[in-house]
């Protein structure tokens, strides 16, 4: 167990180093001057030259990378004298476009994205698994047919269509959910407003994923129902309901959890379309904006964050698997 963990953490750190180095290299090779992007239209050569030195863009690439890495652990200060400012550890650099430390930008955006992803995850797991089980239980009967229509719609409608449709009908035409003007409210502050703010984005994301999970659960349940050990359970005299909800679902949960973990991790990287449609100040929108504005420190930070979430999630799933499946020992 300790051996497994230390090996996995070592690999995780190595992967993150490679990811950050590649992103760093890509942006440095782009044909524009990062220093020139730090000020607006009224830039003079002197300001650009000053910023170049202040942000360390004058140094060789490997030193810039080393400075970036040391910033994560020790924080980083820019400039000298009265103009000096500091981004404390963990620092991912300074965004001139936003005039803020990148870490602070992430700190604002992350809760929004996590709330979005977590709420959607819960919703699509409930809907997807229930529909999948029902479809499998009534295979080829009308509940199965109905659910396959849902699967077809959910998988073929892009999120920008469902999102916009929900926004137009539910918010604007039927006025069921008010258009949020106050913006993001944390759950602890006002749970009601929190749900109001997120309900449509949750549904938008959940529809797409629930469709996939319905199909996946249906297939997994049907496959498991055909297993020999299910026949054994029936031969013992186990009730059909228990066969389905205990013996079958026990075997179906492990692969579903794997899938859910990976999908969740992917969403933390940014549900760009959903966040853009509903104007959510999350990581997806931050990534999109920073990419268009060549805001290198922010792009670098969001990429590393997304990569580390995926890596961590993989590790968690592997450990969870050992708990769920007695055949797996780590």
């Amino acid at each position: 167990m300790v051996n497994f963990l230390s090996r996995r953490i070592f690999y995780a750190i190595a992967t993150l180093l490679v990811v950050s180095a590649v992103v760093f290299a890509i942006f440095s090779l782009l044909p524009f001057d990062p220093a020139a992007l730090t000020c607006g239209q009224k830039c003079t050569d002197q300001i650009i030259a000053g910023n170049r030195i202040k942000l360390g863009f004058d140094k060789p690439l490997y030193i810039q990378y080393a400075l970036f890495l040391s910033g994560i652990f020790f924080g980083r200060s820019y400039g000298t004298g009265s103009a000096a400012f500091e981004c404390p550890a963990p620092s991912f650099g300074y965004s001139f476009n936003e005039n803020a430390c990148v870490t602070d930008l992430l700190r604002e955006a992350l809760p929004v994205t996590v709330s979005l992803a977590l709420g959607a995850l819960i919703l699509w797991l409930i809907v997807g698994i229930s529909l999948g089980v029902i479809a499998a239980r009534f295979k080829n009967k009308w509940p199965d047919r109905l659910s396959s229509i849902f699967v077809l719609l959910g998988t073929s409608l892009p999120t920008f269509v469902t999102g916009l449709a929900l926004l137009i009908w539910v918010t604007i035409k039927w006025k069921l959910v008010p258009l949020s003007l106050t913006g993001y409210t944390p759950l602890i502050e006002n749970p009601f407003k929190f749900v109001q703010f997120f309900i449509l984005p949750w549904i938008t994301l959940a529809i797409a994923y629930a469709a996939l999970y319905t199909r996946f659960t249906r297939a997994a349940v049907l496959e498991t129902l055909g297993e020999d050990y299910i026949r054994t359970a029936r031969a013992k005299g186990v009730k059909e309901r228990t066969v389905l909800f205990k013996h079958t679902m026990r075997a179906v949960f492990a692969p579903i959890i794997t899938l859910a973990g990976l999908d969740f991790a992917g969403l933390i990287g940014g549900a760009i379309i959903t966040e853009t449609i509903f104007n959510l100040p999350g990581l997806g929108r931050l990534t999109l904006r920073s990419t268009f504005e060549f805001d290198l420190p922010v792009v670098l930070a969001t990429t590393i964050l997304a990569a580390s979430v995926v890596i961590t999630m993989n590790l968690i799933i592997d450990m969870l698997y050992a708990v769920l499946d007695p055949r797996v020992r780590i």
Partner: protein
């Protein structure tokens, strides 16, 4: 000897897109206390479907079952074919239990052995969950698993194939059923383990005074343990009698073919293994005549083309030894004895 199971004129058919698959076509036999009845036949002959019918494990809607399967339960008797799902469920694992061919996949990989055994006990003895685990450990001990209390806490993947089949047997016997259906219980096991399992089954049969319905394609196994044998071909019983009769005085050409194709240790290296030529007929389009005609080397001994046109009935000079064949029984007797002598010499 009390009659435990009486199957009469059992038909099982499965509707498919290509047509009706007649898997079992008019099967009848009885199983008494302390007796082992073997059903022998090749793959697709309807042996397992017959066994599953007794368990009532065919899905309504996907299988058409007719005839009668009377199973003794205490002092009453219930017809599985007409009983309700719930009535059958209450019989399963209590009055009749089944062990399956592949012990590797027949145990749930995620549950502890002890709990899997106890579940069957608790189902039929409501409110006795704790006794279930105690009983499970007793049964594991009975089927020869060392340190049963510790092993009950383990998972199926921690057991070897032979040990898993012992677990399956222990699970089947949790509620001391009167009838045990063993569907190819030794097929997936090593030869040395096969013998252990058969000896164990025989020992437990005596102890519980069970009737065992042994489904197998292995004639060696039949010879060792069966009292009565029914040979099945294309969903029908083609020969039925005591094990001795069927082995030493076979009356159906198919049975003779099976006996002749048993490999012998005396066979010379260059000699080819004997096989029955051809393939069994499709169960969707069964021939109007005898289903074995195309593969039968004795069809010419029958009158005219009766083999191809008329379905033979299960008949015999002795009511305890029946067979399905148009060739005169006396003609067959003399022909078959000669053939067997050649093979067995």
């Amino acid at each position: 000897m009390a009659e435990l199971l009486k199957i009469e004129n059992l038909h099982v058919a499965f509707p498919t897109d290509d047509g009706l698959v007649r898997a079992v076509d008019g099967v009848s036999f009885t199983l008494n206390e302390g007796e082992t009845v073997a059903i022998v036949g090749e793959s697709g002959s309807g042996k397992t479907v017959t066994g599953l019918s007794v368990m009532g494990l065919h899905k309504r809607g996907s299988a058409q079952v007719s005839g009668s399967i009377n199973l003794k339960d205490g002092d009453r008797s219930l017809d599985i074919v007409t009983a309700s799902d719930e009535e059958i469920r209450l019989l399963r694992g209590r009055a009749v239990a089944m062990i399956f061919q592949d012990p590797m996949s027949s145990l749930h990989p995620y549950y502890r052995i002890g709990n899997q055994l106890a579940e069957g006990y608790a189902l039929h003895n409501p409110g006795k969950k704790k006794e279930g685990l105690k009983r499970a450990i007793e049964m594991l001990d009975l089927v020869g698993i060392a340190e049963p209390a510790e092993r009950a806490n383990e998972y199926p993947h921690q057991f070897s194939g032979g040990m898993r089949q012992r677990v399956m047997i222990a699970m089947a016997l949790m509620n001391s059923p009167r009838v045990l259906i063993a569907d190819e219980p030794t097929t997936a096991l090593d030869v040395t383990v096969q013998a252990q399992i058969l000896i164990l089954l025989a020992k437990l049969q005596k102890e519980f005074n069970m009737g065992i319905l042994l489904i197998t394609h292995d004639l060696g196994v039949v010879a060792q343990v069966a009292d009565k044998v029914s040979v099945m071909y294309a969903g029908r019983i083609v020969e039925q009698g005591s094990a001795d009769d069927v082995f030493y005085k076979p009356k159906a050409p198919y049975t003779l073919g099976l006996l002749k194709s048993v490999p012998r240790i005396t066979t010379h290296g260059s000699e080819r293994l004997k096989a029955i030529p051809g393939q069994p007929p499709s169960l969707i389009n069964l021939p109007t005549g005898c289903a074995f005609t195309d593969r039968c080397e004795f069809a010419s001994h029958a009158a005219g083309d009766i083999c191809a046109t008329k379905r033979p009935e299960l008949l015999g000079t002795y009511p305890a030894h029946l067979s399905r064949c148009h060739v005169l029984e006396s003609t067959r007797d003399s022909l078959f004895v000669k053939e067997l002598k050649e093979v067995r010499s």
